[in-house]
Symmetry: C2
């Protein structure tokens, strides 16, 4: 959805002006990624307010008119009528707006971001390519932090401005913690590596688990089966919660239901975690144009864990965007 | 300030329970750094609610009782009386609380975080040491992203889980943009490098500019003079805005007032940018125990920029925590 369509959606929700603070929403609508406070106002047109410090960056990158952000009070002069407010707006800032305007919480921009344009899918694909090439060129040896450092070095050299999130390299018993930070521990097996690159502000997000012994391989195969079954049922019209259910069912049937301690996936785009959420509670129907991760896992306390995560683009069916399996 | 003192401050503000979502505030009070939604409730005691996925991490790290986060409604059952709310709470979540409770916005935790304990200062010093050692071992050559990638690799190998923020390596004309992202451009001079490490969740933040020709050196000396003068006046009781004024005055006197397009510094701790802000508008009085950056800069459009940033710990006077000048 482009800026004009968002403005159209805004008006059809009877919102006269929309005040946008969330950096990813600003990036989505203007092309400019703010690194300090910036505010985008949509009415019939769009104006971006940014700090003096970022003015030149904004002028270079923004598709919409840019003005200097002097104070919230100055910006408020540009608001009119019913003011749309993002769910994520800090209550402190909200209070400074709601005294002077009738406000209405809205998720217009997040909703628009759920369906990716061809350009956005290409950016996510490029991020995945960078991540995968970097992974192939990383030697999985020595310590957790050495692997993470090398992987991140490679991604940076390939053009990823930063990792999409804190790279996870969790080995041995630490793989049983889904969100571990890296340590200087020597690598043991299995090794769970969860990493992502950024390309034109779009993220990738992939997990690979390298297993060694029979029990680890057995768990790996169960997780892989759960992932494959989940991917198989993905198509427009299916509920997100159903995809989660399918993955969970496979793992439950093998007796590991209690060891799958997170949801099956999430939307991916300008944020690593965005709508839709492929969880037991998300009743949203999948649509063509969504990009989501599918990442079942089994975590056995004090032993080890396995997670496999790939990115799919939803067309008539799920199209796998990852190219490597290693 | 420890947990007991925060609870004391809460009661003296007539807040019966405090609901905390901000990850840095949770880390500050519990020692646990959440990577997904977690909620801390303070009453006479403290209870941390975290996802099933993070339960084991939380049990290992948290100084306070941990329970599973099932839903906001479940957590709300633990609230009583007047409920303290963080300024940063998203309005969407706020609305789900304020319907059932009398609420009061408060910054108790942020205010407490302004004054660092000995432990916190040691963590910041360790982060600075990691950052400086990594910088010394980085060859400033080839391309912007190669320098950034090597610096970040070194920091990771030294134990920094991630860069404290997106490393800036801005060379040649790009140094005139205070917040540049790195490119694959070949290095030109000057080179502005702004980077930080993380140690036990505490950040460092330093900027060095490497100049080559006479004009660049001239600007460098002005910025350095501004920084030294600002550091000289720092002591308990002085207003943050006065420190900004002193730095700005030096730069203005040389005729570059319009080229100093950001504030002079900021507090540093669990966040890279936190209170106090050393800006024209922050009237807060400096106190013993604060840790702040001092980072004047001059940016000449379409030519180049120079910034110098060091970290100081405020005791009777400012104590410089950076050790290298290179």
């Amino acid at each position: 959805m482009d800026l004009k369509e968002v403005i159209g959606a805004m008006h059809s929700q009877e919102i006269d002006s929309l005040i946008i603070f969330k950096p990813e929403n600003i990036t989505y609508l203007t092309g400019f990624k703010p690194s300090s406070s910036s505010i985008l106002i949509l009415k019939d047109d769009a104006v971006l307010f940014t700090s003096k410090m970022e003015m030149n960056n904004a002028l270079n990158q923004s598709k919409v008119q840019v003005e200097e952000l002097k104070s919230l009070n100055e910006v408020k002069k540009n608001l009119k009528g019913i003011v749309g407010i993002e769910n994520s707006l800090p209550v402190f800032t909200y209070n400074k707006i709601c005294d002077d305007f009738t406000t209405k919480l809205t998720e217009i921009v997040e909703s628009s971001r759920i369906i990716k344009s061809d350009y956005e899918v290409k950016c996510i694909e490029s991020a995945i390519e960078i991540a995968e090439r970097s992974f192939i060129n990383t030697e999985i040896s020595e310590t957790e932090n050495k692997v993470a450092a090398e992987l991140e070095f490679n991604m940076k050299m390939e053009g990823s401005i930063k990792p999409a999130f804190d790279t996870i390299v969790a080995s041995g018993v630490r793989s049983s913690l889904p969100h571990s930070t890296v340590t200087s521990n020597n690598l043991e097996f299995p090794v769970v590596i969860d990493w992502g690159a950024v390309y034109n502000n779009y993220c990738s997000d992939t997990t690979r688990t390298i297993v060694k012994n029979e029990k680890q391989s057995e768990i790996f195969e169960i997780v892989l089966e759960a992932q494959k079954e989940a991917i198989k049922v993905i198509k427009p019209g299916i509920k997100a919660s159903y995809v989660d259910k399918v993955a969970r069912k496979v793992i439950e049937d093998y007796g590991y239901g209690d060891n799958f301690i997170h949801s099956t996936g999430h939307g991916l785009g300008l944020e690593v975690h965005e709508k839709p959420f492929i969880s037991q509670n998300d009743e949203i129907k999948l649509q063509e144009g969504m990009v989501i991760t599918v990442e079942p896992g089994i975590y056995i306390k004090d032993e080890f864990g396995v997670r496999i995560e790939d990115v799919v683009f939803i067309k008539k069916r799920a199209v796998l965007l990852n190219k490597i399996r290693k």
